[in-house]
Amino acid sequence: MMLAVLISLMLLQGDFSAPLRSGRNDMSEVSGRNDTTSVIPSEAEESIDVAEIIFEHIGDEYEWHITEWKGKPVAIPLPCIVIEDGVHVFTLHHAAENGYTLNENGKLVNAVTGKRPIDISITKNVLSLMMSSLLLLVIVLLTARWYKRHDVLEQAPTGLAAAMEPLVMMVHNMAKENIGPDYKRYSPYLCMAFLWIILNNFLGILPFFPGGANLTGNIAITLVLALFTFFTVNLTGTKHYYKEIFAPDVPAFLKPIMPVIEVFSALMKPVSLTIRLFANMLAGHIMILSMVCIIFIMAKYGPLLSGGMTVVSVLFGVFLDALECLVAFIQAYVFTMLSSIYIGLARVKEE
């Protein structure tokens, strides 16, 4: 198991850097495109801009671009909400009328001053976040309803409850093992984190509308998750935990150094949680997209070569999708496991 995780991680990290580098080089070109309100120029039919395709899929945007139909983009328009001397709500098409434009990173800025307003637009990621959270809410509440309506001592769970019970209980038992006597306080948070991450990981693998947003591969999302864990750990730590950080029982010459190291390590825990989940999911998406892009890149090299490469990239794509399903579970599991271990470490009792 560990070996498989390591290999998959190495694979992911190794391949992750290459497209990212090429992506950065072409960044200016990407943003240039975005300024022309994403109408694709005619020469795009000939040469495929891989970086643009990939970044469009893994990034965030102000409308949910689904496909091209007869040269016109098919997209779900989403409300842009900006706060700058009052709240402004508009769709991206009417940005100019409201005095906003997109900057080189594809973000809304004030057309006059060029400053970023407070931007709480319902972007593609936010909509996906809302939908997946609602889905999770419905699933778990329906499961809870089953347990409320049935005598669990007489009846085995059926349907949704039977599907959700092993997942919830896996996390619950993980909390029991890692946290100790007051695990019940933390179990709901860990269940929530695990189910939310795994649901969004799988939705991210899904290539079409309800899924397709790269939510768990977005650093803002993973940062919030990691901060939830960080505050849970550090706001409910025992006295002994703080004593070990600020006044550890070490030789005198280490006394001034240890708190610095301990505080740093406490701060690094959420950072590592953030980057692990974000990088793994992002890398997976980039790899799969790169595989798909190979088909279009090879199209101009003749039927034999492009046909051969299509077979290869489809096979690789299937393999990577399967790998992503594995990673989707593993990363959700690892995040939850580490969160529970951090909480367990903060619940130490004086011996």
Binding site: V126, V140, T143, V152, E165, V168, M169, S187
Partner: protein, 169 residues
């Protein structure tokens, strides 16, 4: 650097939405599920424990039963043996007693017979003595009817008497 710069809007919405969903689920979702499943697990564990206990008790009962049977059988044998012994003893005692009684009766009978015999002999002797005195009287009267014979007799008696003390000394 779009990728590694957290976007404020997304941060904001994530905190709000995740917070709300977490609040709702922590209140109405997960605890219900986990509590129910835990109570079921507890019940299953308890049932298993009970089943084990009952099994152990059954096994104990079985051995106890076997033991009881065994003791009963042993007791039965002992009682039978004792009864036989008692019977034999009673019979032996009775025989002994009967023999003793018989011996006693026999001894008494013998004594009585001996006494009877003695008294009979005494009577006979007395009778014989009386008869011989009467016979001797008759004989003497007949013999001492004349003088000569009387004299001769007295002389013989004197002789005898004279001889007799010498014999004694």
């Amino acid at each position: 650097m779009n990728l590694v710069t957290p976007d404020f809007g997304l941060l904001f919405w994530m905190v709000v939405i995740f917070g709300i969903v977490f609040f709702l689920l922590a209140k109405f979702g997960f605890p219900i599920i986990t509590d129910m499943v835990e109570s079921r697990s507890a019940k299953i564990a308890q049932s298993l424990k009970d089943a084990d206990e009952i099994e152990a008790r059954m096994a104990a009962w079985k051995t106890e039963q076997a033991q009881m049977l065994e003791t009963a059988r042993r007791e039965q044998a002992a009682i039978l043996r004792e009864a036989t012994e008692t019977k034999n003893k009673i019979v032996a005692d009775a025989k002994e007693q009967a023999r003793a009684e018989a011996d006693k009766i026999l001894a008494e009978a013998k004594l009585q017979i001996a006494a009877e015999k003695e008294s009979a002999l005494r009577d006979v002797r007395k009778e014989v003595a009386l008869l011989s005195v009467q016979v001797a009287e008759k004989v003497l009267r007949h013999e001492l009817s004349d003088e000569g014979s009387r004299r001769a007799f007295i002389d013989s008696l004197v002789d005898e008497a004279g001889k007799a003390p010498m014999q004694h000394t």
